[in-house]
Symmetry: C2
Subunit: 233 residues, 2 copies
């Protein structure tokens, strides 16, 4: 069955990584359904039953979003609260619609990877920062396949943005569309059930990186790379 990518970005058109991921995923309609929440529900009022139907008619579920304040956008949190309901996502009365369903996250991570460490600037790894989503999937007995992250699309706190931007985006940011597809291929491969022992994130990302090393775009001009990059916290 096709993979459902639920994309939640308040301003996808002016985004960098998330927009490119979407553009790439849309090239393979036989594999992926890209569902943009802000486009489907401009007023923020979700149709929970329609969302449930959409999930049921697909196989793997991927939540794609930019990390703002170390968390998902509000509309995705609303989606989780309203769609993953008792009797559908959990509970004894038919609450098994995510059970064994492959699930993953694809996030643009904002700050640099080296700051996402227990001994780093913000004291937590991205795996820990994303633990609410992993725990949610565990709660629903989904087959959580880890996350795919694109780090470093942002300034450090205290820097003036964007006039005096001093840090450059990572050199491989334009390869982001390819890497997400590679990640999805990797994480959709049949493996043993991961509940109770989910795949280490490092493994998935390493595999994705290996597969996509050849597609990385080189020699990005900073001026070009900076065009249209939103402030992604």
């Amino acid at each position: 069955m096709k993979t459902l990518i639920v994309v939640t970005h308040p301003s996808l058109e002016t985004s960098a990584v998330n927009k490119r991921w979407v553009e790439e995923l849309r090239k393979y309609p036989e594999r992926y359904t890209v569902h943009e929440l802000h486009k489907a529900y401009p007023d923020g009022n979700l149709d929970a039953q329609e969302e449930q139907r959409l999930i049921e008619s697909h196989g793997p579920l991927v939540l794609q979003f930019p990390i703002y304040w170390f968390n998902c956008p509000p509309l995705l949190k609303r989606w989780l609260d309203e769609v993953l309901t008792y009797g559908w996502a959990y509970g004894s009365n038919g609450g098994d619609k995510l059970k064994n369903r492959q699930a993953a996250l694809a996030v643009s991570a904002g700050i640099r990877e080296e700051n996402y460490r227990e001994d780093g600037r913000y004291r937590y790894s991205l795996k820990q920062i994303l633990s609410p989503f992993e725990a949610t999937f565990l709660y629903c007995n989904a087959d959580y396949r880890s996350f795919f992250a694109f780090y470093g699309m942002e300034n450090e706190p205290g820097e003036t943005f964007p006039e005096k931007r001093t840090s450059r985006p990572p050199a491989d940011w334009r390869a982001a569309p390819k890497t997400i597809c590679a990640f999805l291929i990797t994480c959709n491969r049949p493996t043993e059930r991961t509940i109770g022992s989910s795949l280490p994130n490092r493994t998935s990302c390493a595999a994705a990186e290996e597969e996509t090393a050849r597609v990385r775009t080189r020699n990005i001009r900073p001026s070009e790379a900076l065009g249209g990059i939103p402030r992604v916290r």
Copy 2:
């Protein structure tokens, strides 16, 4: 200066712990301002400047909310995104309004404490689950004083609710209002700056518990204790 408690609960009137906390906090208007987001903004459209003004006219900041899907309600995430802006909460152009400001969380935690452990059912401690909020305060150079949690106001997944509820709420749930005040007194005491070495949560909670051991209500009848308890994930 008074402490600002930003309360975000989609249905405070039918809640148990959160409502009691609010009732208790309102007894001390000289110490606490209780600001209910859903009451102030029924349509969800926040006045970010007014929120910023409110924070600036107070001392410590406490975010109080029930944990749904291991995370805050969507309106609080929207509040974080819209209120903690560049040039106010961070950044070089006046982004220092949270700098050194005491900040804490007060949460009703849903599942039982023993499940919130690295070797527990959901594999993460509540400290890790709440890491997005801690990291946000760190980013803004606030003086994060840990969190106060009330565990176990919910069924386990798979149980039918509420008709066949088998688990009882924790015996001390009616003492919750007293304990939050004790926690706030504890966490508002002047201490060394905690950035880089925040107080272990255990310490704050232990101190709060010690101070309030005498106020704990005993012999709660289950029927009474169960009245009006919302489904708190």
